[in-house]
Structure formats: structure tokens, C-alpha cells
Symmetry: D3
Subunit: 297 residues, 6 copies
């Protein structure tokens, strides 16, 4: 699947939201798992081979100028009193320049598709997925719009007590599902290079990534406090693909990262349960992994 | 019901949203029908006799200084890197000064209540209400988060073709329900003083409010264009309580306004169907008025 | 000739200048006569029939949103340290959306052209034209870069004493040449509706445009003072096509305006010599009209 | 004495000043010795046991969020044209949240007091104190309002030649009085950790705090220049409690700091006479220490 | 006396204050009576014949560009960390350009003076004057620094109950003294053209300036409220030179204005006692008019 | 020649340009070679002995406060709608304070001069000089206004292919002329201390300035790219006075710098041809060194 096709779709969606809310909204990089699904609903899917989003000669993505240009355009539109009907075309034209145009039709493994028909052929159905979180400023066992800057599309999350959130993930993994993880990786205890994420009692320990040590006992209240004072913020999206235990019996989630073949496990990070409890913003998974939990709302 | 109790509750909710989204959100006056219901969920209801929100000697509400003070506080909080746990108390303390504290317990018609138990006694159940709108930038017969500045709480609206939206309202009124109306009243054709809202073909007609005249034939596309270019914006909340027809057979909605006893009909405005089709942002009504429409989503 | 093709070309040229000067330059609407010639050098000419610059359904130009969008883009580019090579394409793509793409090849009266070959076929040679002005803050009979906001391309003007400037224009007209005029039309004494521009001694005279009256005797020093204190600013470009005298012997220039068929003379304005002396910023004409004047520099 | 009670009082006083001067004044942390006395006049005194200004669980003061919130409130008030009478209550309510409310009445060593009656019982009489400084931009032996950002309350200082200023302090100490010192401690030669403040000829000396060395000979003119070019600024308030001399006969003032038990002398700093001459902004002492000096003005 | 010499002196004094307070102060036009006396102390007096402050050809003062230029300079100085010793000379040089240089020595009626010796010859002694005001936010019968934007020099005012303030002025006038008046003249009831200032009960009365009518009974509290909510602000300085009564016995102060020969009384305005009580910011008079009142403080 | 006399002249010229272009221009430090010649045209020349531009006691130039003050003044002028005729005098008065006034007449080696007559006596004729550059965004063998922030005076440069530019400089040097060089010295490979400027293939080589190594082969296109993405910017002006070759046959230009006696060659820097090709913005030389090249335009 072409990640850049999703990125484009989300930019267009954010732009419309930003204009219609008259600039009282977030416009910037950063997406959540449910935005990826939303992008499928909005525009379908394209194979990576068909759309890399790279310009001739480019090796890696650098969207910083593009983002500043797009933001400047939208703020220009909002300087007038009445947006014209032309700005969305201008916005897309700039995306085309910086990210290549997307083919409306393409051939893949001998068949012809549009992005939407390709999505259908894959059987991805965004409404089959559900997102969970765990915070006390809304009642448990109800859904709410999570108030973080990146949730521009105002997706709803089903709220669970922390222990239940852990159970739901563990059961999904046990059943063989993978789980999308939104959380905070800009922490002392997170090291892609070491392939490890821990929440040590003593964050200044010099052997943080070489020796198992005591971790914090994370309560619902500690987690809430860290969220309310911005110690925990959303900054990355990864995939939980399995579980493991170390010699002391500490449970770790096996998590696939998108930063390339880094660290001893080929780009995989082992996240301890303590880290997971503190630094998870939300998880998203297939509804069949949870037997209808969260559906009633 | 105390309107000011609702206003307070919404201010507190907006403040939390504004802080958690790190200022990338709207904080200001202006609420939608679903916010009123949300306020009931969050904090309950208080009778007007128990809480007027007026200070000794005050006759009318003027929250402009209070709003600027509250906004200044929140921006002050966001200047630091980590919000303290104290700011919500400070925020409430300022509300108490400008709007009086709310009693935690009160007696009403001989019984003792809290705001929540009073809400329960009234049998108001926010989840029994549903909101409808009609725009083409999302698929019909699905729910979506309406992208307008005032929708700070990101309420979902069930999207209907324009003719269906009219039918749904007409049927609800016919069944005896009232309907909350969010829409645009800052138009040439709207006059609280005349008790009339029309969408004339010729908006410069001098006898706009004294003589029936030709109105625009509002299509889905005209409505969409006016929304996308900010000709239609949300700026008021009223209650549709009935229907009427004039001598030419033009249909009008009978709408109760909250601006006091103004105009020939004691504060009631007759809104023509054409005006309704063009200038309605959304309507909210009891689910039992619509037989489960919109529930599936 | 397509005016909008020239406008586009100038926007692209201004954009490059604005970026390379790191924002220390003017980017906005407004061009001078020499910019039109510069545009021919840079990109050639296209017939009006081939490129109107109007979108389907548009009747008149309104570039205000486009200008704000373009300015926002460029400021976005300058937010980064190193402009990418892609922004000029993005800039052009936005012009294409708001003004239509320009055909690279086109047929005109049975022949195939590019903009450049079409310019050549017309025999327009920008270096055959020369611009004159008259200000005392630079020596006369030398060229200098006129310091006005619209002179973004920093064109040079040959500086003449005021009386000589008048003679040069009069002689050119007498020889049958037309003269491009850059000047100030936002004055009490200028009326496109009356087809008249005068510089009355008493600007409050009620019969300004119906009765000839005393005009100011404009000296070099008055003209200079008005320029230095921004009483005279550049805001319009028109074409002097002839001369006339009224019953009192006052000389007028016959000037073609581009605002359509306005006023008693079908879009022509009679500009009095006094007005010309005070409010002319510069004139541009074919070099053969001036026998090599200004060439030595 | 409760320092935080004084801090609160000064915040309220600064707020009124800031509003009445329509924002053309300083609002921020930082007070001078005379502000402490002014606070006694305005609101009295409270024992530390009665009011710590700490919230439950707090160990140390951190007023940065509170200050940003208070500033935001006041700027909000000034956004309107006419301040309401309510803002001072709102301001106090926020102080109460961040610093605890102050008891209107309290018991202390078996007696009941208000802050004012407690101040009276202590016999503190602000008008018994006088402040001295030494600068040449005002005549000596007169009082003037010292123009530094922190002097928001515009206290007057009696101006003495530098040598007289030193004598006045020396005599006061000799008589057994203590002297409040406002001055600059953000200097290379000041070290709370070393308990020493010197003004070395060579500020890069590595043995600055271990070995006595040559100090600058501070003249009135050097002192003035350092003040006028912001090399000397007011940033701290301490108490001079005695004098001492080192092995070379250099005179030091023994100064009590409020930063806790730091350095070899338990929180006391030895300030050399050279440092005192250069870096003293002002001193404040009891009038009886100076036999009426400065009274005539 | 040259008013412009005073204006210059105050500009220089404000500039020093603005720099030393690091911009946390007011810099702009507008002075109070005590500033005029302060200017005499700082720089002396010059006769109007010797220094008009007008440039060759100028008829009236227009300091708006000069003020913007001076403010720009000072803000430029504050952009650096350490003001140089040169900026005051640069500041004065700009004053010299816009207002002419002041002669250091001059002849007046056959004698040679400096500004200071001239002031001495006139026997003006600023310390012989005292200012009174009447506000309840400071204790009566003490002096305080009046918190208004124009009080940049932080002059002290002796605070009197409103009735005493009136008595003090009445007695001074009765003894033959004149009284400088700082107050608010931008009020409906003030008309320089009518030579009248009244405080009508009904400010919409059409015969405000032609017919005596009911005026407000101004209490101390009304006066305070108008001050605290910026209804009363300082904006003008005039001279009370006498008293009068109308046919109804209403008392008026006879006040000389500096706006030239306007109105029926040749530039004099009759200010009613009600207006005086409400709109007076402060009065300044010779100490001998008040028998030492206010001296104790 | 007094460098500071030139600096002053350029400041005055920049100021006029900044005002007349209503702030849409660059005002700051930094000049190009042609500005120095322009300054001679505008105001003449003064010997260094006659005008150092240093104030009594100053050893080195520090114009940062002056520049901020001058910029503040000009922005103050532009706040008004109509600049007065006085601001240029005020601007010059400030230059006089920070840089000393320039004598209108002076004696030099027994003769009396004005700056203009002195320039004439030296036989410097600005129109005898010509500037060359080499960029592909304008056609070769034509002149164009180089779009860099420092080119405030919009000087024209004759555009040559890179190899021709090198030849022109080499020939001029061979004929015994010196060449003014505008270019970029804030590069890893430039070291005034080593007296060397190179463009290494590997910029991280540790022996960059001690050992000859491979340099980049600079093409026209590499040079253009570095200019368009701001890798090459104009930041210094020096004088090429000769040529040399190292042991490997690499060609170097011998360049006199103005930073004093730094490095092994007494302030001279050896610039390799590769560095010259990449980092030269422009060169300026006497027309007789180039046999009329560039004259035709």
C-alpha cells in the first residue's frame, strides 16, 4: 500500500477542515491510525509500486517546504471573506508538483483498477475497525472525541479502564490480529537503535538498554496526569505484531516501526508493558478481534 | 432551565478542549443545539430560579470581558510547557466571579436536588436526540463531524438530501415534536422586528417584509455553494414549534427566538421554506420523531 | 494581445525576484509599462482569442484570492532555509488553476505559433522602447532606477527636466506615435465617468467637470514635493493617443483607458497639461520617436 | 513573616497599576525592598505559620503558570474599552487557587489578629524606613523615582554620592541595624555556592573564589555607565547583617540570602566593597539609623 | 514662556525613562501640570520670542511624524542588549531637526540668560507647587503616585475627599491664585465652541449649551467608578482663573484654554461644579494658596 | 579613501530608496562593489585621515545600535501617510552623532577640497567600471539586475558563461588590473586564519587547510543550483590582486581581505579556482581591462 497516497488524501481532508473551520483547527503533519482508515474511505488505496510520491531523483520524503507552502495557501484563502471554488484545485495542483500526480486508473498484477476499486478488491472496510483509549476525563465504556492536536478529523475512541485496555490488546494479539498503536516515542526510555522501550524507575540508569531493571507501576491516575500535563503526547504510529517475555518475566509487545532496518531486531521495537500503559495514546484493531466491544455506543 | 448553567458548563468543556489541543481549536461564545444536550450529560440541569448567572444589580448578560479574561488565562497556561493541575480550578473561580457560583445542592418545589439528579428527574436523555444536516461534501445517509468553527465538541450529524431534511422536519412537527434549529440569521431577509425570514429573488425589494414576493428556488447545489464560500454560517440557535402557510400557499416554519418579546408575534419568527432550505445549518430533534433514522450509523 | 498572458508572466517574474531577494521586495498586483515590454522579452505574446485567462463561467477578473494564495506560498518557501527546485512549478500550477493553462502552441489566422514566435512575427522588440521621467533627486539627462513600490523589476528611466518631458511627448504624438503613460489617477480631479482629468486651483469647485477653470501652474519643485510626500503615486497605466485643446486654449492629452466604454468619449480621458505635469510618473515610447535621446546612457 | 502574603499583596497592587495605566507599565515577578514595606501598608502582615502560600503537596514555589495566567487576564480586561468592577475579584480568585486563600482572622500565640492588627502589634511602620541610591542622572541630596523596570510602584530614593552611600550603610551596620539590599547578582563574580561576591580586575581568573585578588576601583562614573548600559540591573533582594575584613584588609558585607542553606557560610554571602559599589541598585534602612538624612526632601 | 521648550524637555525626560525601564513605560504625547514644573527643574525656561519650536514656513505644530520617529529610535536602542552612550545625542539631534535647536544663551529685554538663569530670574520654584486629587483607592490625606498612563514621571498627588478638593480650589481662587487643571474634555457636555462644560442628567438634551438644566449630583463613589472604568481619563491641561454663577446659582469655574480664540468668551470655558467634580483628574497650585496642606506627607 | 564616508553615503541612499518604495525594500548593512562606485557618484570621496567615522575613544566600528535606530526612524516615517520633508535631515543628524559629521571642505596635502572635487582629483569615474556575473536564469551576454537582497540599488551585471567569467578575470589580472570580488565566505572551505579558500570534494577532510586535495569540478549548473537554493549568498567584498599555482598546478586567486593582518599571508587569502567558480557572486573591474565587453548592452 502506498503510504504517500494516504498522506495526500489526509492533506486534502485537513485542508477542507481548516478552511471550513476558518483556521480554528490544526493543519500540519501527523496522523492517527483512524486517519489512515478514513483516507481509505475517502479515496481508496493504491499499491506502492503505482505511486511512490517521490519525484525523479528523490530518495526520501521531505515535505517541510510543501507543508509551509500549503499552509501559506490556506491562510491566503482565509484572508478573503469568501473562499472561491478554485482553491481545492490549486491545493491539489501543488500536491501534484511536490508528490507527483496520482493515476486515476492503473494496472496491478494484470488487472485494471481505480484507487476505490483496488480498495474494494483488498476487502478493507474502515467501519470494521475500532479504536480504544483509556482516560478518566470521560466516562469509561462510552466513546468520545479524543482532544489531541493531531485528531483533526475528530475520530471517536471507546474508553476503557487501563487494565481492560491491556487485556483487549493481549487478546487480539493472542487471536492473531495485529494492532495499530498511537503513542509517544520521544522519551528517554525509548530507543529504536536498541530496539527497546522501557519505563524505568530511574531514568538516569546508564544500563537502561542493556540490563533489565525496575520499571514504574503505572496506575490509571499516573497515566492521566501525564496526559493532562503534556508529558505524554501523540507523536508516532506503529504496529503491534506480537508479544514476548524477558528472563524476568516482564511482558513486551513486539512492535514494527517504519523507520527502516534499525537496531538489533531489524526495525522491531520491544515495548514493555509499563511503557505501553503510560505512553499509549490509543490502539486501533479489527472489530472481530473484540467481539463487538464498543459497538453499543 | 437555567441557560447560564449550560453556558458555564460549555465554557469549562471548551477550555479543556482548547488546552488539550494546545490552542489548535476554537474558544469563544457560540454553541450548537447538540452542545446544550452535551452540557446536560456533563453537568446536569438547574432551574432558572436557582441559578440566573446574574450578579447583584445586573439586568442583562455581558460576557465580553469575561470571555477575553478566560481566553487570556488559557493562553497563559499554554505559554508554559506543562499545564499544572490547578488551572481548571482557576478557570472555574473566574466563572464564579463573573457568573455567580452554582449551588451543589438546591431545593426545587419542595425537593432537594443536585444538577444531575434534577436532570434525571426531568427525564432528559441526551442520547435520545439526533441531529441532521444536508451537505454534499460527505456522503448522504452517513454521519460526519460538521466542520464549522462553533462545532468545538465535534458533534456528529446525520447527512440527508435536502428534500429529505425538509420532510424529516415536517413530519416531526406534524407529530407534535419541536425541533432545534441552528442556522444563519445575519441576512438581509431575516428580521426579528418583522417576525419574518424570507429568501427573496430580489433582496433589494423595499417591501420585503410587508408583501409576499418571489423567493429563490433553493437547490442542493446552491445550498452547498453558500456553505463552502461562507455565505451561510452558523450564528444562532432557535426552536421550530409549528408550521403555517400564507395567502400564496408558501410554507413557513413558526420559530421561537430567545431575543425577547420582539415583533408582531411576540418573539416568534416565520421562516419561509426557501430561507430554511438555504440557511439551515442543522436541526436536532428527539429520536422518536424519526423512527430510528440515522441510528444505523 | 492577451493582457492576462502578460499578467501571468509578470507574476512569475515577481515571484522569482521575491524569493531570490528573500522577501525584501514587493510582491503584489500593479505593473508599469516597461514590465509589459519585459514580459514580451521573457515569454513572448499570445493573442487574446487564444488565452483570455478567464475560467469557464467567469466574466471578469478577480485575482485577490489568487494573489493572497501566491503570496502565502512564497512566504512558505522562505520559511525554510533552502528553497527547493520545485516551488516554481507549484507556483505555475496555481496560476494554471486560477487563470487557465497557456497553450505552448497555438494556431492563429492559419499559422502555428509559440508565444515567442508569435512575438517575433509581430516584430515587437522591447529594446526599441525607452522610458522617461522627471524628478530632481537624480541628475537630469542620466538614467536611474525609479524608486517606487511597483518598479519591482527595477527598470531604468531617463530623467528629463519637466518641460523637456512635455516636449518629448508632444513631439512623439505629433509624429504619430502613441505613448504609454504611468501615473496617478486616484485624484479628485480625475474622472473616468466625465472623461476628464484636471488639476484645479480650487479642488472643491462644484463644476469641476462641466466648466473649464483655473488650473495650478505646476513647477518642477511642486511635482517633486508631491512625489516625495506620496501625494503622487503610481497606480495606473494608460495610452496617450493624441492631443486636443479646449475653448480656452488649454492643451489636453487624449488617453485611452482600459476600464471599458465609460464616459462621454467611449473610454477615452482628456488629461490636461497641468494634470500631466503633476501626476505623470513616467512615459514609455518607441525609440524612433525620440531620435536617440537617452541612448548615450 | 509570610513572604507569600507579601507577594500576593504586591501582585494585586501591580495589577491595579497595570490596568489603570492601560498596560503601559510593568507586570511581572520581581520586587524591591520598598515594595515589601508598601505591602505592609496596603494589607498588613501574616505569620509564616498562618499562610505558607503552598498548595497541599507542594514543596516549593513555582509561579510561572500563575503569572502567565494573571497577565493573560489583565490583557483580556484591557481588550475591552471599560474595565468592569469584577476583574479585581476574579484576579484574587485566581491567586486563591494558586496560592491558597488568606485567612481574614487568625490566632497566633494565643491572640486573635487580622493581618493589619498583626502588623500593628509588630510595630512595623513603613514610613520609618528610607531608601538610598547613588546615580548621577539626578542631583544628589534629593529624592527621585528610580527608573528601573521593577520599580512599578515608583518608590522614591534619596540620592547620595557613592562614598556617602557606603558611609551611610557602614554606620547603620555599626549601630546594629540591618540594611535591605537591592542589586545585581547575575555576575561572574557572584557565587552563592562560594558564599562570595567580588569584582575582579580579571574576571577570567580561575581562582576567583579561592584566592583574594585585585578588584576594580569603582568610581561614580563607572557605576553610572554600568547602570545606563544595563550591565547593572536589579535582580535580587537580600539583607546586609554585618561587616568583615579578609587577610588583605578588604572589607566585605555579610549578607543573608534567601536561597537556603547554600555555600560554606550557611546561605550567607560575603560581598566585597568593590562589588557593593558597582552592583548595588539601592539600600533601604530604618530612618533612626541615619539621623534624619533624606528627610528634608 | 515657550511651550515648545517645555515639550522638548519632557520628550527627553520621557525618553530616558522609557530606555531605563526597558520599554515598560509610556512614551507619547500628553503631559500633566506637574510635568511642566518638572521641566522647569530639569532645564529652565525660555521666552516664546526666543524659541517657537516652529521650522521656517511652519504655522502650526504637527509632531506626529516626529513622535513616530522618536519612538522608532528608542525601540531600536532597546533591540540591542546594551544601550550605547550616544543615543541621547541622537535623540536630541532629531528634536533639533523637527523643532529647531534651542539657544544655549539668549538676550531678553536687554539681558543675557541661559534657560536656567532665566527661570531663576522669574522666581519659578517647582517645589513651591503642590498637586491634589481625590480618589478612594488610596487613603485620604496622604500622597500617592497617580496611576494614569500620562503620569510617566510618577508625580505624587495629595489625596483629598471630593468636598475638600472643591474647597481647596475655591479658597485658592478666592485668594487670587490660579489653579492648573488636568482633566477630561472629551465628553458630550464639554464644548469649547460654546465655552461651556456641564454634566447634564440627560446628556441627549438638545439645548445642552443654550439652556441651564439639571446636572448630576456627583458623589465620591460616582467619581471613583468613572475613573476605574476609564469613563474619566486625563486628556487636557487648562488654567482655572476665576469663578462665576449663573442665574440659577450654579457655580462655574472660569477656565483658560490653549486652543485659541474659540467660542463666545474668547477661548475661556465655564466649567460647572458638577463637571469639575466628575471630570477633574487633578489640580496643581502654589503651596502658599493652601497653607501647608499636604506638606506633612 | 575613507570607507566610512562611503558607508554613510550608502545609508542615506538606502534610506531614500526604503522610504520611496514604502518599505518594500532592503534596509540594512551590506554593500556590493558597484555601491561603492555609486557612492562616489553620489557624494564624492574623502581621505581616511579626514574622516575616520570613529567617535572619540572608539577603536572599532559597531553600527548595530545605529542601524536599529535608523531602521526605527524610517519605519516611524512610514507610519504616517505623507512623509515630511524633514526626515532626511533627521536621518543625517543621527548619522552625525554615531559617525561624526563629514567636513564639507578639507585640506589634504596642502590643497583644499570638497568630497566631490577630491574625487575628481583622483580621476575615479564610476562609469568606467563594469560588473560581471554568471547565472542561467537570464540570457548570457546581456545585462540584468541581479536579484539578491544586498542589491538595494539594483545595479546591472553583464552575464557571462562561467568559463568566460573566469577568462575575463584572468585576463584582467594578467594585464595588471585588480578586480573587486563579491561572494560567499561563510563556507567550511574558507579560512581567513589559514589564508585559504578551497572547495573540497570531501568537506569533512581534517587536513583541509594543510594538504592540497581533490576539489569539486564546478559546472554552470552546480553553480546555478547553489545560487537558487541559497547555498551561495553574497556576504563579503574583497580585492583580487594576483594569481598563483600550488605544487599540483591548482590555480589560486590572490585576494586582499579587509579583516586586518590575519593568517600566514598578512591578510591575504588564496582562493582556488574551484571555490571562485562556485562562490563568486560577481566581479567588478575597469572597463579598459575588458576591451568594451558588455558595452553593447
Amino acid at each position: 500500500m502506498s503510504e504517500m497516497f494516504t498522506v495526500r488524501t489526509i492533506y486534502e481532508d485537513k485542508a477542507r477542515n481548516y478552511i471550513l473551520r476558518q483556521g480554528k483547527a490544526n493543519f500540519g503533519q501527523g496522523s492517527l491510525a483512524h486517519d489512515v482508515l478514513r483516507a481509505v474511505s475517502l479515496a481508496g488505496v493504491v499499491p506502492q509500486e503505482v505511486y511512490s510520491g517521490l519525484l525523479p531523483g528523490q530518495k526520501r520524503y521531505d515535505h517541510s517546504e510543501m507543508e509551509a507552502v500549503l499552509k501559506g495557501m490556506l491562510d491566503g484563502v482565509l484572508k478573503g471573506k469568501h473562499p472561491s471554488p478554485y482553491w481545492p484545485d490549486a491545493f491539489r495542483a501543488v500536491l501534484d508538483v511536490y508528490m507527483q500526480p496520482v493515476p486515476k486508473h492503473f494496472n496491478y498484477r494484470g488487472k485494471s483498477y481505480t484507487p476505490r476499486t483496488f480498495a474494494e478488491s483488498l476487502g478493507i472496510s474502515p467501519e470494521d475497525y475500532i479504536s480504544f483509549t483509556s482516560f478518566t476525563h470521560h466516562p469509561f465504556h462510552t466513546s468520545f472525541v479524543l482532544e489531541i492536536p493531531d485528531n483533526y478529523s475528530n475520530g471517536s475512541y471507546y474508553n476503557l479502564p487501563l487494565d481492560e485496555l491491556v487485556s483487549v490488546v493481549d487478546e487480539a494479539i493472542a487471536k492473531g490480529y495485529t494492532v495499530a498503536w498511537d503513542g509517544d516515542v520521544s522519551e528517554e526510555g525509548f530507543s529504536a537503535r536498541a530496539g527497546l522501550a522501557v519505563l524505568p524507575e530511574d531514568p538516569n540508569r546508564s544500563d537502561l538498554f542493556t540490563q533489565p531493571g525496575e520499571e514504574l507501576q503505572v496506575t490509571q491516575e499516573m497515566r492521566q496526569r501525564a496526559f493532562m500535563n503534556f508529558s505524554t503526547t501523540d507523536d508516532h504510529l506503529m504496529h503491534i505484531v506480537g508479544m514476548a517475555h524477558d528472563q524476568n518475566g516482564t511482558k513486551y509487545y513486539i512492535v514494527k516501526n517504519s523507520w527502516g532496518n534499525i537496531g538489533p531486531y531489524g526495525g522491531v521495537v520491544y515495548i514493555s508493558e509499563a511503557y505501553f500503559r503510560m505512553k499509549t495514546i490509543a490502539v486501533t484493531m479489527h472489530k472481530s478481534a473484540v467481539n463487538g466491544l464498543g459497538e453499543e455506543n
